[in-house]
Symmetry: C2
């Protein structure tokens, strides 16, 4: 029983929905970031849950690894087939199965992307709020417990997945959760599969919470001389209960990059970018009160707007910040860090990272979801420069160590994949072993995305 | 190796922190509701996590059941020692260990009650929002994934527990989660222990999210001729994004009970009671807009107030509704149901239940957390009347079946305990077996609150 016998068995029922073409294998074995390619031996394109079940069962029978694959936007090499095997590409399972407007939920297949979902929802007055930047698949977003700019208001995938259908390692199909808004009926299996990166089961259907389109939206921007003042403004804003829909931090270097890339003229100091959702009067009040806090904390240049075009320009600039940073160094590739700390430690963490990057000789603009305490350094590297990669990894390593010492986490939203496995023991101690016990109980043959998240024999 | 040898071993190191007194055993073997008493063989009162660890390890060595116990307010007999063993009473582990104001979190021991926590927090401007009515312990609330009137705004225990310390079945002490607001670092073990009812580990410390005290609060009440109109008003309110802090439904019979008990004069029809949190202008706007929706949906008698005394009177009446209902029948005991359905099905579910109760000959006022789709019928029974108990159980059974058929859950917030185990297979199908696999992996000897939540050999 081998990968090859598994592929032979799969071919018999998948026909041309299984491909061995070199270009397909390479595409599925590449990573968005700096990881070495690791192509699978075959790529399956199932059309429904039963087909996924058959594929997994067949692979289980042949001890063949199975790697679920969404849109391929993972940043930590989650979908690399490092032990070979069969990648299950979900892109053909991308339907919206039911929109329940009164209940503000939607049932979708995992290959659907978040942008496609929101396009589909446009006429309903509802939207799906989780926005990791990339146009990721919803199954992938659930599997990495993704979040992004709106988590401060609407939560992460943890908070927005109500129910799942999952194919287990032996091919059984189960359902977790329900369309009820809450339940105390036993173990929270939905939460267990969200963030499991495909190591415990293959997600084949998701029920997601939706939000009403806000009647009005206002946005604001302001600058600070010191990161600490910006963070204190955010803490004060959260404490008095102003419900920010987004609050993003960009440091001086990111500001410089955005100026150049988006033809803006912000002073080259740290900035906060904020968005408020609510009624007309509500968003005006929120923006005004936020402005008062900014002034108290020594911020300057505060302006707010409820004009759509100004808001769009602001968030367009923010969404392009990653590319703006990349453009600071011609031809650069990036190693993107992703720590998250208690917000009271954020200024210290960012300043430490800032100083550490400066001393390293690398460029590394910093930006983050400041309401969550989550920030990224975009470390700019010459492709193939091993010495620089070494320096970048050491920087990332120190950022993680500092975050853990501050009571934080090695990854706020990108996940473990290939990049963060080495920190799992440091972060979780004996609880990491418990994760291994759960993996063992659910996937004794270790065929589901093996060598990710946990360590098993 | 028996329960008796376990107790002998425990006595050697717990001294008088272990009791075999009959009154203590009886108190810990009683339930708040209708379940038959099932006292443990001993009650331990640990003072710290290491003592809990030693107790569990000793019990594991002797194959002796261990039942974690908070304030004893569970409604489904969760803490009954139905296989005997040692109850671990957490009441002496009731300290607030750290208040992190800037991060809006708090670290507490599990025996602390939610009211004691909020008293402790009074000077900080922060509060812990989850409010199940009873003054439950926070460890118990986490273990049953409790919620209550404020879940529509602030979520359930699922959303408000950031991190845990847990003693596992072999006595090992682990930590799950962190003080970071979000994380993608592996399996969500925190969510696994929340709602596990002490069957996977003993919670010995919790890190909880806090909220800022709202600057202003307004409340409102209104009446409807039909339940469906009330529910439609709630759906419209949620969809346009008015952030209700509470929205409670009471049916005509509950209204009558409240009138009598709290000396009020509401018309005897269904009512909604609502609360808004925000700025002065915000809560006024929210209440006004809610009033407009109520009018559109045919509601009457709408009045709102931001006066503290009027609000207090309203919620005092609501909090006493259970006792008001009990007082409808002299000397009655109650069987309290707890289903939760998608909100679009709520009117139908409540009306079906209403008709079913009416046909049964029993009294059963209905009230619920309408924003979540969660409602309770308080079935009033003569103590010791087996025939009535039979009727009540059959009613509850049909309510659960109906809720499951509507895509809901057998328990919105009370948990499984002794009362809902029979519905687990219906609700979860094969996923219930998966819960058993997890139990097996984490507690192979089945010593932790045995015969609850899952079925293992």
């Amino acid at each position: 029983m081998t990968i090859q016998t598994a592929i032979a068995a799969l071919t018999s029922f998948l026909g041309d929905h299984l491909t061995l073409s070199k270009s397909d294998l390479e595409a599925h074995g590449a990573s968005e970031t700096h990881f070495a390619p690791a192509p699978p031996d075959a790529v399956a394109y199932p059309r429904d849950t039963n087909e996924v079940s058959q594929i997994v069962k067949t692979c289980a029978d042949h001890d063949c690894p199975v790697i679920p694959y969404g849109a391929g936007t993972a940043l930590e090499g989650h979908t690399l087939a490092i032990r070979g095997g069969v990648t299950i590409d979900m892109s053909r399972m991308n339907a919206v199965l039911a929109v329940n407007s009164d209940d503000m939920d939607v049932v979708v297949q995992p290959g659907l992307t978040r942008e496609a979902l929101n396009t589909e929802l446009r006429a309903t007055g509802l939207f799906f709020p989780v926005d990791p930047g990339a146009n990721a698949s919803l199954g992938g977003m659930a599997s990495t417990r993704a979040s992004g700019t709106t988590a401060v208001r609407y939560g992460t995938m943890r908070d927005n997945v109500l129910a799942l259908e999952v194919v287990l390692a032996d091919g059984r199909i189960i359902r977790t959760g329900s369309r009820a808004r809450k339940s105390s009926a036993g173990y929270d299996l939905t939460a267990l599969f969200v963030g499991a990166e495909g190591t415990l089961g293959v997600i084949t259907e998701l029920t997601l919470r939706l939000q009403g389109q806000p009647e009005a939206v206002s946005s604001a921007i302001c600058s600070f001389d010191a990161i600490g003042d910006a963070v204190n403004a955010v803490i004060a804003t959260i404490q008095i209960g102003i419900p920010m829909a987004r609050i993003e931090f960009i440091d001086a270097q990111t500001t410089r990059a955005c100026n150049a890339f988006s033809n803006a003229d912000m002073p080259e100091v740290p900035h906060l970018m904020v968005e408020f959702h609510g009624s007309d009067a509500g968003v005006a009040e929120q923006a005004t009160r936020f402005g008062e806090i900014v002034e108290e904390m020594g911020g300057t240049g505060f302006k707010w707007s409820s004009l759509a075009e100004e808001r769009t320009a602001l968030w367009d600039m923010r969404h392009k910040a990653y590319y703006a940073c990349l453009a600071l160094r011609k031809g650069a590739v990036a190693l993107v860090t992703d720590v998250c700390v208690p917000i009271s430690k954020l200024a210290e963490a960012v300043e430490d990272s800032r100083a550490d990057i400066a001393a390293s000789g690398l460029d590394g603009p910093i930006l983050g979801h400041v309401g969550d305490g989550n920030y990224h350094a975009i470390l700019l590297l010459e492709p193939g420069n091993a010495a620089e990669m070494e320096v970048a990894k050491a920087l990332s390593n120190r950022m993680v160590e500092r975050a853990l010492a501050m009571g934080g986490t090695a990854t706020g939203e990108h996940g473990i994949g290939m990049g963060k496995l080495d920190y799992m023991r440091d972060e979780h101690g004996d609880a990491w072993g418990l994760m291994g016990d759960i993996k063992q109980a659910l996937d004794a043959k270790n065929i589901l995305n093996p060598a990710k998240v946990v360590q098993v024999n």
